[in-house]
Amino acid sequence: MSTAVEVTLMVNGERVSAAVEPRKTLVDFLREDLALTGSHVGCEHGVCGACTVRLDGAIVRGCLTLAVQCDGAVVETIEGVSDSGEIADLQQAFERRNALQCGYCTPGMLLTAAELLKSGEVPSREAIRAYLSGNYCRCTGYHAIVDAVEAVARARAGQVGVGEAQ
């Protein structure tokens, strides 16, 4: 049988120590043990992207990473990047453009878009779609999401204000 394993990791800037069962995925650990329910669980096999979180600075599937693998790691969730204000402009653009309806996909979409925009370049709409291809949205039809990401990329590059790029 599996015995619980002690792990210590940083979650949204706070040090967390816990004993976890090996079979517990990172997203279940965040939601159930730490009550960070912003990361969602959809398919549980890597297809939908609802569980996207950052692990050591890069986005990963929370459902395809085990919590025990995160000993010594730095994890950031939608709660962390919301509190820090890092993606406030993306969040505002999503709201303004109706790029979310039920909101189930939104935390994953935002973290994925944030990684795409990290370089500071303005990606083509095609590149935005390709980068978001692993994040499913059952509500919006994606168009508004691509609009929002594009608007923020332009605004960050100083091309046009997020509010103006309607």
Partner: protein
């Protein structure tokens, strides 16, 4: 779904990993987890022990030994995609990488895991075979090297034995004469291919020599189209129609939920035309 219970051990070194694998029958290597954990979540698999090799140092390097490119087993797809060495010296692999899954999965999934898992619709096994590459393996009996031609044995079946770990793959570095081509058809960006083709050959005047055209998604393993290769080697680009016709002997795709075998064979011909044209005029 949630996985069945299993034990977990983190290996400190390659020797330690091999030792740990020997402690339980059915113990499994955990690399990127992007195929394995999905299978555990779906309860398609229930190994008693996972041996995590992510802490083993030295397996995440991309190196350039004489005339070759060596990619460590733990190199992530995203790391390979960002590598100048891969872009310059292993252009076929660089072409294939963006087709693998999605950014979050590429950040975690490993080159070694892709080869070891040997999904018949995966890109990298086909590239390794097209490039006539080789695989380094370490196990309880020591180290060995296996040619790509001898590595892919059947559906998800490879030359890796129990307790063995794939440590690196090696492919010949690109030369000015080398031509390679890649194309795949998938329903959505990042999905496994419906049908794909990875190809490599040596340009010889207006023709091709030593060509290796490897289709994926059309059988239990990546499949070399040997008759089509022979036609192209003998007749060069003029033989394209004949080579496409030869695929009827080379490929025997079965019907699956995505497409009929007949449709797949047709698509294989479409890809062969695209890829041969690309190899004919690499600067186009």
């Amino acid at each position: 779904m949630k996985p069945a219970a299993f034990a977990y051990a983190k290996a400190r070194s390659l020797d330690h990993a091999i030792e740990l694998l020997g402690t339980r029958e059915g113990a499994r290597v955990l690399a990127g987890g992007q195929s394995l954990i999905a299978a555990l979540n779906m309860r398609l698999d229930a190994p008693p022990l996972l041996v995590d090799i992510n802490g083993v140092s030295g397996l995440d390097r991309i190196e350039r030994p004489d005339g070759q490119v060596e990619i460590g087993a733990l190199v992530r797809h995203a790391q390979a995609l960002g590598s100048q060495v891969v872009a310059r010296d292993a252009p076929l692999i660089a072409r294939a990488l963006p087709h693998i899954a999605h950014p979050a999965i590429r950040n975690r999934g490993t080159v070694g895991g892709s080869i070891a898992y040997a999904d018949p619709a995966a890109e990298l096994p086909a590239c390794l075979l097209a490039l006539a590459g080789e695989v380094d393996i370490t196990g309880p009996a020591g180290r060995r090297t296996v040619k790509a031609d001898d590595f892919f044995l059947g559906l998800f079946e490879t030359a890796l034995g129990p307790g063995e770990i794939l440590t690196a793959i090696r492919v010949p570095a690109a030369t000015p004469q080398m031509r390679c081509g890649f194309a795949e058809l998938a329903r959505r960006h990042g999905d496994y291919a419906l049908v794909g083709l990875a190809a490599c050959a040596r340009a010889d005047g207006a023709g091709l020599r030593d060509s290796r055209f490897v289709f994926f998604g059309v059988g239990a393993t990546p499949v070399r189209a040997r008759k089509a290769e022979a036609v192209l080697d003998a007749r060069g680009f003029d033989g394209l129609d004949e080579a496409v016709a030869a695929l009827a002997d080379d490929l025997h795709p079965e019907d699956d939920i995505h497409a009929s075998g007949k449709a797949k064979r047709h698509l294989a011909g479409v890809l062969l035309r695209r890829v041969v044209r690309e190899m004919q005029d690499p600067w186009a």
